[in-house]
Symmetry: C3
Subunit: 346 residues, 3 copies
């Protein structure tokens, strides 16, 4: 795929300075670009690279002053970063555009598949599944009985969706992620063994959710494990049965949320965080990476850190003293020695 | 699937009060149920919902006193919770019942498959594999050369079982779990590179084991990585080479057990726990979430917490003081100041 | 596969004492071996087992003194451990040797596949993919458009390689691992939602890299996420977008490295470690399991521990005092009481 400076300027509503016919076929950072690349300059810190870059085209802000000769063709746009992001997105959509049903696939005769679908080879679509319009179901995806997938959703290679689960519109789910495996529920028996508690609920994922690779969301014991509209989950995350994650909450990789916990809206949760079961986390909470949250957070919009999680600033103060603990102990010993010497302590 | 109150009462050995012909086609919690649902009341805390629920049928304890009019048909059973659990399990078995071999599959001519098997499309069953009776092998499962799967075992979509591994009877393994990948063994060389140590052992999983999704159990260097009878493992767990996990031990999500460590029987290990290699953990140990265990636990039945893991109550005491560390330091400084002022310290 | 003592001695350049025609068909530890097994004795600690083992053949060091009768046939080799490792490796290569393309597979007509390839059933190889010589692509592997796989590389069942990613020679990647899923990049919007930042870079894996099962390496936003030559990654690891991991670095299971962080060469990182984004870790750093690294490590070859990670010996000293915190507080209270009593403090 090749584009001329003229074509790109048209796409981003910009103006060309230099050769309008120069062609590019890749995107690159301004400091790393080679000939044939399109790049952009937004951060003034990188301005020096404008004069040395090997990029063939550079998009810059409308009002940028250029005071020395530049090799590249320049495209001036209102906001260079936004213009470049738009191009990235267009490029990506073109790259990932595919339609049609490859062979072999397994599609149960009762399954309904919307318009313009891509179904990759070796995908498995079971009985009574409903898939919306413009979906991309990559190879090796498994969609169990009676599951529903909304319009414009992409499931990358190897995603598993168990029976009865529901995924909204415009979702993107990356490879190896499992939606709807059994919740971890076992009743201890008198002989020391455990009896499984059947998990007959489902997972309900609302619109505009993105989920990374190899994440697991367990189905509810009864009812639904719920991922609300606009949630973004990273890779290798554990979401246990009957959890609910509120709108537009973002969770980084390798965090785990135990059963029946309810996370509020607009929360930001770092990587490797653990949250115990049966609590709730207020809207707008910010939880630092590796924290362990063991009780309900009721106040909205606060920052938390550590195990057990405490308010961020208190945690930072304790952390600083922790690093001085050996010195603290020595000072205490000195006082004890002194008071012993003075015969005040014995 | 629809059932009448009469049919359900027969299944759970109960008696009907109200319309025996009312039909239900789903299960729900009493506080969330809609018309057409079957629910139950066991915990007295929820008794109020009996009078407001929209459930069509509610199973209650034999001896429950009902003093106001109730909309739903009532089924009295010896133990409402047990009766409901039995129904859940029956329902689930019906939902997941499937038999037969779909197309296309890859089954090596030398593989032996027992009676009443379900083999989903795109399953791969290699040379000399032996699969017992009544197994369910879902789509995209891979079973390597010479592996053995016991009777009544279910491998959900996308499970991988490497060559030579052995899985017992009545196992349930969820999607994306990998059994028998190479242990992480490399010998450092003088030039700074690493040489792989071949991992020629296997994984041995005994009867009645359940394993969640995207968990990994590595094969032994030599001999076997062993998961004993009745063990329950959650999602995203790491079990390294030559580990042994004792009977009826339960491990929550995202925990990791390093090489050659031996976990006792009836242990309960929380989520995100790390256990170093080459140690042993006594029977009945309870290890709190996010703990880091760095030495052998020899005493049975104790509770542990923290990194490095310490007895639970000691850890709780240290934790409390930790949150007061800045105050502690201030008090120490005051004493120092005082003694300086009094010219006792200089 | 059966081998005689004579054949084995020839392979390892050793000499036979006892029956040169005795046959073995398995490998086992000396203390666990049964008849028909080949074992070895290297560590003097295990010497006692030489006289009780049921192994049919034992490889020992050339100069070992044997002063009592031994049942097994003995093979003397220069270094018993090295000799045994060589045999392990040969055995493993024979076990895993396979060539040919099974059916059904999906191979795009434009894909190029080298000599002596094994392509398992249900593998998916997309447009313009290039696969080197002697590669083993197991069943259910997905290789996206334009990806490249070097000579002698093995991708076990269920590995996913997204479009444009590049994997070097002699790589081994275990089941369920995902290479090239989107980096976790979203721009917060004024209405509280997030807009995806397209991730158009790739993952570049150099030669001689081994990666465990269910690990995830995200593609770069632009440019490449880079895994340098000789790196060894364990299971369930998270490598975020634009990370670079230096030559011969080893990372244990369940660790996570956030975006744009650069890990040096010859580092050793324990399990469940978390490393924040946009920092660098010096060559030869050793990071203890469960550590949380939140700033750049500039000094080479040091040992780190804890959250936030501190120099190992300082961390150990703080840890020891931490376990005595309740006692420390009590001692401080005693001093305060004393000074109160003496009317020095009020």
């Amino acid at each position: 795929m090749q584009f001329s400076a003229h074509q790109i300027a048209t796409l981003v509503n910009g103006s060309v300075e230099g050769d309008p016919d120069v062609m590019v076929d890749q995107l690159a950072k301004i400091e790393e670009a080679s000939s044939g690349s399109l790049s952009f300059l937004s951060n003034p810190k990188y301005e020096q690279y404008l004069y040395t870059t090997k990029a063939s085209i550079v998009i810059v802000n409308e009002d940028l002053k250029i005071d020395r000769p530049v090799q590249a063709t320049i495209i001036r746009a209102k906001n260079a970063y936004t213009a470049f992001s738009t191009l990235l997105e267009l490029y990506n959509q073109m790259r990932l555009q595919r339609v049609g049903i490859e062979e072999p696939v397994f599609i149960h005769p009762s399954a309904k598949i919307g318009k313009n679908a891509y179904i990759g080879a070796f995908a498995y679509i079971d009985k009574d599944v409903v898939i919306g319009d413009n979906c991309k179901i990559y190879p090796h995806v498994y969609i169990g009985e009676n599951a529903q997938i909304g319009d414009d959703t992409t499931l990358f290679s190897g995603v598993t969706v168990y029976f009865d689960c529901v995924i909204g519109q415009r979702a993107v789910i990356h490879s190896g992620t499992v939606i709807g495996s059994d919740g971890f529920g076992f009743a201890p028996q008198e002989d020391g063994t455990y009896t499984k508690i059947s998990q007959i609920g489902n997972v309900l994922i609302e619109d505009d959710v993105e989920i990374g690779a190899n994440t697991v969301i367990d189905r509810a014991t009864m009812g639904s494990t719920i991922i609300r509209k606009g949630v973004k989950l990273d890779n290798l995350i554990q979401v246990a049965h009957n959890v609910e994650i509120g709108k537009n909450t973002v969770i980084a990789a390798q965090s785990g949320i135990s059963g029946s916990t309810k996370i509020g809206e607009h929360a930001v949760i770092g990587g490797q965080v653990g949250i115990v079961g049966h609590i709730s986390i207020a809207n707008g909470s910010q939880i630092q990476a590796q924290s362990g949250v063991n009780r309900t957070i009721a106040e909205t919009g606060k920052k938390w850190s550590g195990t057990p999680a405490a308010p961020y600033s208190a945690q930072m103060r304790s952390q600083v003293v922790y690093s001085r603990l050996p010195e603290l102990e020595r000072r205490l010993e000195e006082l004890e020695q002194l008071l012993l010497t003075k015969e005040l302590l014995k």
